[in-house]
Every structure is written in structure tokens, then in C-alpha cells.
Symmetry: C2
Subunit: 171 residues, 2 copies
DNA sequence: CCATGTGTTGACGTTTACGTTATGCTTAGT
DNA sequence: ACTAAGCATAACGTAAACGTCAACACATGG
């Protein structure tokens, strides 16, 4: 329902340098990722220039997140993203229902995508809980440190007769 | 209060191979970290063998956590741990109050330690929230994927006449 | 039309964080 | 006492993820 017709599926292509500025990764990195098969620009100019589309851009940030937030190697990122083409296919499917995939194949892809996404979710939750535990640990230490400092101040105040505000400096 | 006297401050020293087995890092890694100044064994045998104590052990796991959970480089780990000697000093202080640090210096160290620990906490919280955001994103996608699959099943049931439970297997 | 910027494909260099011998000494079990 | 483990130092190797030229091709604004 409500099938909008957006003029003519406006292309909007970016050159590699523009992508670099927009996403914060270097052009070298983009070429390297392509070399690994991680990010294939969806278009090329007739002269051989790489031309990226919006989904390519979001893929760039996704790769970086998987690298930075989960510490995945590019090989692992590739594995995760392999089954995730589904996700893109799915968006395409829900926005444009033109693509002519047989429904059986489409369901297969969707199921794969659901599995992959769930695995990623599980991994995220695992990482979250591990970091959370570490955080709690450090929070407890923070409390202990402050207690120790308070104790020190207290001792200084009550203890030896020197009890003015300034502790004695020593070489 | 309740000052226990634990026999004679039982040494408990571990050789590098034992540390490796206990912590899960290789001996090479331990030597490498030492080379970088990250982990200096608190003792040496007369023949030159590295001998580690309990706090060294916990330092090993702390280093690994900073590496794995926060993705810090060893240089960054070193920076974090630099001011954290305080933390160790503090534990020593609270368990044995023998060490002869002037209170002024002790307070200084404690304050540094509090700052460092708080910075680490902030970093942990930041990382946590970034991963959490990513997680939420993927959770939303999980929902969308399942909706799409349900939609597919629904279409299949209502649409063409093939509607039996089993999707067609294809080579 | 020409200068300048941006792109392309190599190819080699670099950093980090270790792995892997090699060689010799020490410690430990029998 | 002797042999097998384990440790020490030293040096070279390696995998990942890019950085950094080099040399040449477009393309684009004045």
C-alpha cells in the first residue's frame, strides 16, 4: 500500500574521497577492504572510478563498529556480513517488491539472516555483560579508594599532634 | 583492628611457566610485556629466573581485560596502569600498614589513583553505551526480519495454490 | 587548454603483538 | 650422577591492517 514513486530511484553516487570524508576511513582502507572482498562499490564510472551508494556507506560504518566495538578481525567481520546481504535484500524487498526471487529462496535467505543476526546479538550481549562485570569491579575499587582517602584524612586529623590542615612535606 | 599475623607473610612465588598456565597467556607474551615495561616480575631467583607474586598475576588478567574488553593497545594499557600502581599500593596499605610512605605522598598517590580509576570507569561506561546502542539497533533489525518472514508465510498461504507446509527443496 | 586535484593500480614499508627456533644454563626427578 | 624439563637471552619470522610512495590516467574549473 501507499506505493510512492520517488522520481526515478535517484542514484546518488559518491567517489572514494567523498566516502572517506563522510565516513572517516581512508581511501587506502576502502581499497583494502575491497581487496578482501569486504566492500565492493556498487558502481564504477566508465573510466574505472569507484562509485559508492548509500548502502555501501552504511556498510562502512557497520564494518567499523564490528571492528571497534566487538574487536572482530576483518575475516570475522566478513563472516558476519556474508549472511547479512540478506538484510540488505530484505530492505530492498520491503521497499521495492520488484526483485524476482523465488519465495522459497527468499525465505531461506531470511532464515539465514535471522540466525546470523541472532548470533551477533548474542555476541553483543555476551560482550556487554563481560564489560559490565569489569565495570562493576572498577566501581567497587572506586569506592574502596575513596574510603581509603577518607580514612587518611581522618587519621591525619585525629592522630599525631601536628593536626593542622597541611601534611608535612618530606624529601 | 583485628591485626592478624599470617605466619610470616608467606611469599608464594610462581615461575613463568606456572604463570602462563594459570593465566592463559604464553611465556613469550609475559616476557614481551616485561620488555615493554608492562609487567615487571616482583622477584628473581639468584640464577635469574623470573618469579611472580599474586599481584603480578592479577595484573596479567587486568592487562588482558583492557586489551580484550576495551580494545586498548599495549601502549594505552601501559598508560592506564601507570597511575594504577597506586591501587596496588593501596591494597598493600590496607592489609599491611607497615610501609613507610609519608602520608602526604600517600594521599597524593591515592588521589591520582582515584582520578585514573574514574577515567577508566568513564571509558567503560562510554563503551558500554556504544555497544548497547549497537545492540538495540540489531534487536530492531531482528524484529523487522521476523516480521518479513511472517509476511512471507502469510503471502504464501493466501497467494498461489501451492500452500502446503513444506517449502520446495532445490539443488 | 592547461594546471591541479583526484582517481587507479602496483609495490614496498610499517607497526603491533606476539610465534618460533637456536643455544646454553638450571633445576628436578630417579 | 645423570637426564629430562624448564628457563634465559637473542634473533629472526609472521599475520593483520593499513601507510606511503611511484607512475600514470581523468576531469574540471578558470
Amino acid at each position: 500500500m501507499t506505493s510512492k514513486r520517488p522520481a526515478e530511484t535517484e542514484p546518488v553516487l559518491w567517489r572514494i574521497g567523498e566516502v572517506a570524508k563522510l565516513t572517516g576511513v581512508t581511501t587506502r582502507t576502502l581499497r583494502y577492504w575491497e581487496e578482501l572482498g569486504l566492500l565492493r562499490p556498487s558502481n564504477h564510472s566508465q573510466s574505472g572510478e569507484r562509485l559508492y551508494v548509500a548502502t555501501d556507506l552504511s556498510r562502512v560504518t557497520r564494518i567499523r563498529k564490528l571492528q571497534d566495538l566487538l574487536g572482530l578481525s576483518l575475516a570475522e567481520v566478513q563472516a558476519v556480513l556474508a549472511t547479512e546481504a540478506v538484510d540488505v535484500l530484505d530492505r530492498v524487498h520491503s521497499e521495492i517488491d520488484a526483485v524476482d526471487l523465488p519465495p522459497s529462496r527468499r525465505k531461506e535467505l531470511l532464515d539465514d539472516g535471522i540466525v546470523a543476526n541472532d548470533e551477533l546479538l548474542a555476541r553483543l550481549d555476551d560482550t556487554l555483560s563481560r564489560i559490565q562485570a569489569f565495570r562493576d569491579e572498577r566501581a567497587a575499587i572506586a569506592v574502596r579508594l575513596r574510603e581509603s582517602r577518607a580514612q587518611l584524612d581522618e587519621d591525619a586529623g585525629a592522630g599525631t599532634g601536628v593536626g593542622n590542615g597541611r601534611p608535612v612535606a618530606r624529601a
